[in-house]
């Protein structure tokens, strides 16, 4: 029990102490992560014997907060803490010479604490709390360089996008709690439409957090944060929380929803893979790649294999953090992450390039590196599922694209292409050169992890008592995808292969805007349609008036020549026309003008209330309450 608490309280304490003792913030953060990792390993060792327990505290009558410790949650806790520890070690070097180190390390610790609490939470209530704290910490970290406009925008965008989708999570939790009568995650779902709806809403929240189609846009923008933040955010924490949510909700999901989960993941892995191939900036390439790999995890979940998804999550955490940390080294050397500034950067810092290559090849699925094992498990899960006809092609295409963009990045970093067109997406330079040792230490440790995690597949299977799907078909398919992708990416100018798709892919497939595409544009279109209807009505009335006028004029011209007596009729027609015209002007136009005037007057009256003077507001409040009290008294007693 104590160890369970230490897992997330140690980083939390580190966050608080960092604020008090800013000088040693880095050491506090690193030791907080270390303590968290050791505690997680301890509970993992205890759960290894098949033990699992729940601890709950009743903090309000009928409302308890509980922690659930199973092999799965302990394993994820170890992964998160390990990645975070090495990223923090790396950050000691990366942030050397920065001014706001205290804030940075305190936020990182808070972030870690929130993720650990999320991993261990046993009921929806504490899950929501951890989820919220993590959203806050990610906002602080993405916007760390808040003096830069793009960082501010990216932080707000990430926050608003994920928070909007969190409404789905809230409604889903409400549905689940009201149908089962408890907030515990272990409660069996009652089935039926309520569960299906809750599952879909959870998927919306998870897809947004995990940057899945159509919400993937914020992740590329989040690259504006410091590189260690990207490394942590993309590997084991923020985006992984989306997958974690689906893993925890997995027992609740009916088959129909699972198919949707698999399709969202499959489509994302292809779309984000294409996006990654097109990116002119290394960090943005990695961001799109993260979306793509998380798509594979959701695909595995949709195919019904939690084990494959979790295993890929762990392997991906090691691989992606290594890739980002190596990118940080290149960024420090060249002062940018745009490919045109990074040409040949790998030759300048070979240890970083080595780590990048190992992690990249692992990501592409080259045996015996970790990605080979995890991706095979995902593909095997897809092959074994009932919906293999759609999931397998999507998974294969995703793996193929992974190889392509990895090979492209490796080639550009080593040899360079002569011209890389595209907008400049570079980052501001890193100011200091100190701390290279720390960066290399963190980088190489994680690189070794990226290489070796795959060998843990068998022990992990025994530990968690889950079976990873496997089979020669999946192995052959994975190898074919990796080989074809890598060759394609290395030998062919991949960006040009995309052809007409390129500008679209470069912007991350505009739907990436998500909100912009699905809410703003329809509203605009509706407003435009209403405006057009209004205009056409107006011109109809005007046209009728004009027509009557012309008719009257012609009649009068003919009649003047024929007979004076007919002139009277012409005059009559003319006056009818005038009447119509006058009604148009004085009736409809005056009505619209009066409406506008009325609105303006109302606004002016409302403005007068906004005096900005506190005591006037107070007086108004008191008067309002008095009136309310009077009404209540009258209603109750009369």
């Amino acid at each position: 029990m104590t160890a369970t608490l230490v897992v997330f309280l140690a980083p939390l304490a580190a966050a608080v102490l960092s604020v008090l003792f800013g000088r040693v913030a880095a050491w506090l953060a690193a030791s907080g992560a270390l303590a968290s990792g050791v505690a997680a390993a301890a509970i993992l060792a205890r759960t290894a014997s098949g033990e699992s327990w729940e601890a709950s505290v009743e903090w309000l009558p009928g409302l308890s907060v509980s922690l659930s410790v199973t092999t799965l949650t302990a394993l994820l806790g170890v992964t998160v803490a390990t990645v975070a520890f090495f990223v923090l070690v790396y950050a000691v070097g990366y942030m050397a010479g920065e001014t706001e180190r205290t804030r940075f390390f305190a936020s990182m610790s808070l972030f870690l604490a929130a993720m650990q609490a999320l991993v261990l939470s046993g009921d929806w209530l504490s899950f929501l709390v951890a989820w919220e704290v993590m959203a806050l910490a990610s906002y602080l970290l993405i916007g760390h360089w808040h003096e830069r406009g793009d960082a501010r925008d990216a932080a707000s965008r990430a926050f608003v996008t994920t928070r909007t989708a969190d409404i789905g999570l809230y409604i889903a939790v409400f549905l689940l709690a009201s149908t089962t009568g408890t907030t515990s995650m272990a409660a069996a779902a009652p089935g039926g439409p309520a569960t299906a709806l809750a599952g879909l809403l959870l998927l919306v929240a998870a897809a947004t957090k995990a940057a899945q189609v159509p919400f993937q846009g914020w992740l590329a923008a989040a690259m504006a944060g410091p590189t260690p933040v990207s490394a942590l955010l993309h590997s084991a924490t923020l985006v992984a929380a989306g997958v974690l949510l689906m893993v925890r909700a997995f027992p609740l999901l009916p088959p129909g929803v699972l198919l949707v989960v698999g399709l969202v993941g499959g489509i994302t892995t292809v779309v984000a893979g294409l996006t990654a191939v097109a990116q002119p900036d290394l960090k943005r390439l990695l961001a799109a790649s993260t979306s793509s790999q998380l798509g594979l995890m959701l695909l595995a979940l949709g195919a019904g294999s939690v084990a494959a998804a979790v295993f890929h999550l762990i392997a991906h955490a090691a691989m992606k953090s290594t890739l980002f940390l190596a990118t940080g080294v290149f960024q420090r050397d060249r002062g940018s992450t745009a490919f045109r500034d990074l040409l040949g950067a790998g030759r300048d810092s070979r240890p970083a390039y080595l780590a990048f290559a190992v992690a990249g090849l692992a990501l592409a699925g080259v045996p015996p590196l970790s990605g080979f094992w995890s991706k095979d498990a995902v593909l095997a899960a897809a092959l074994a599922s009932a919906d293999a006809w759609i999931l397998v092609p999507l998974g294969f295409a995703g793996s193929l694209l992974t190889g392509t963009y990895v090979a492209r990045a490796l080639r550009l970093l080593w040899r360079g292409e002569t011209v890389v067109p595209g907008p400049r997406g570079g980052q501001a330079g890193i100011r200091s050169d100190a701390g290279g040792v720390w960066m290399r230490a963190g980088l190489l440790a994680l690189g070794a992890g990226a290489a070796a995690v795959g060998l843990l597949a068998r022990p992990l299977e025994e530990l968690t008592a889950m079976t990873l799907p496997g089979g020669w078909g999946a192995v052959a398919m994975g190898l074919a995808a990796a080989a074809l992708g890598l060759m394609g990416g290395w030998l062919l100018p991949a960006r040009r292969l995309l052809g007409g798709l390129l500008p679209w892919a470069e912007r991350g497939f505009v739907v990436g805007g998500g909100l912009a595409a699905f809410i703003v544009r329809p509203v605009q279109r509706l407003a435009m349609a209403i405006g057009g209807f209004d205009r056409s009505l107006h011109s109809l009335v005007g046209g009728a008036a004009r027509f009557a006028l012309a008719l009257a004029a012609r009649v009068s011209a003919v009649d003047v020549r024929l007979h004076r007596g007919v002139e009277g009729a012409a005059d009559g027609a003319l006056s009818v026309a005038r009447l119509v015209q006058a009604s148009d002007r004085d009736g409809i136009d005056a009505l619209i003008a009066a409406l506008a005037r009325g609105t303006r007057e109302l606004g002016r009256a409302g403005r007068r209330l906004q005096s900005g003077l506190v005591h006037r507001y107070l007086a108004l409040t008191v008067a309002g309450f008095a009136a309310l009290a009077l009404i209540v008294t009258l209603v109750v007693f009369v």
């Binding site: 409302g606 403005r607 209330l609 906004q610 005096s611 900005g612 003077l613 506190v614 005591h615 107070l618 007086a619 008191v622």
Partner: protein, 102 residues
């Protein structure tokens, strides 16, 4: 006169004093003191109701603690605003603070 009624009267007087203070003063600190008195009156009411109507329900005490926390937080925010205002303008006279005029 029962103790409960006495308590209610004291609270009412306290509330009236606070209301008068909040409405009549122009200094932000003084206004907040008025608000403080009103909150105090409300809390006094809560305590008296709990003690003389439902002394067996401990949730009354819990509610009291929550109220106290809210009060402390509110005052912290209020004085934060006052400090920021004083640093920026050199005064906390609310007659002069019309910048938020719509």
């Amino acid at each position: 006169m029962s103790v409960l009624l006495t308590g209610q009267l004291v609270a009412a007087v306290l509330f009236g004093v606070g209301l008068y203070g909040a409405l009549s003063q122009t200094n932000l600190v003084m206004i907040m003191m008025g608000v403080e008195l009103m909150l105090g009156a409300a809390m006094l009411n809560v305590v008296f109701f709990w003690r003389y109507l439902h002394p067996e329900m401990y949730s009354g005490q819990m509610f009291m603690l929550v109220l106290m926390t809210v009060m402390a937080v509110e005052m912290a925010v209020g004085f934060g605003v006052a400090t920021a205002r004083f640093r920026a303008k050199g005064s906390v006279e609310m007659e002069e603070a019309g910048e938020l005029r719509g």
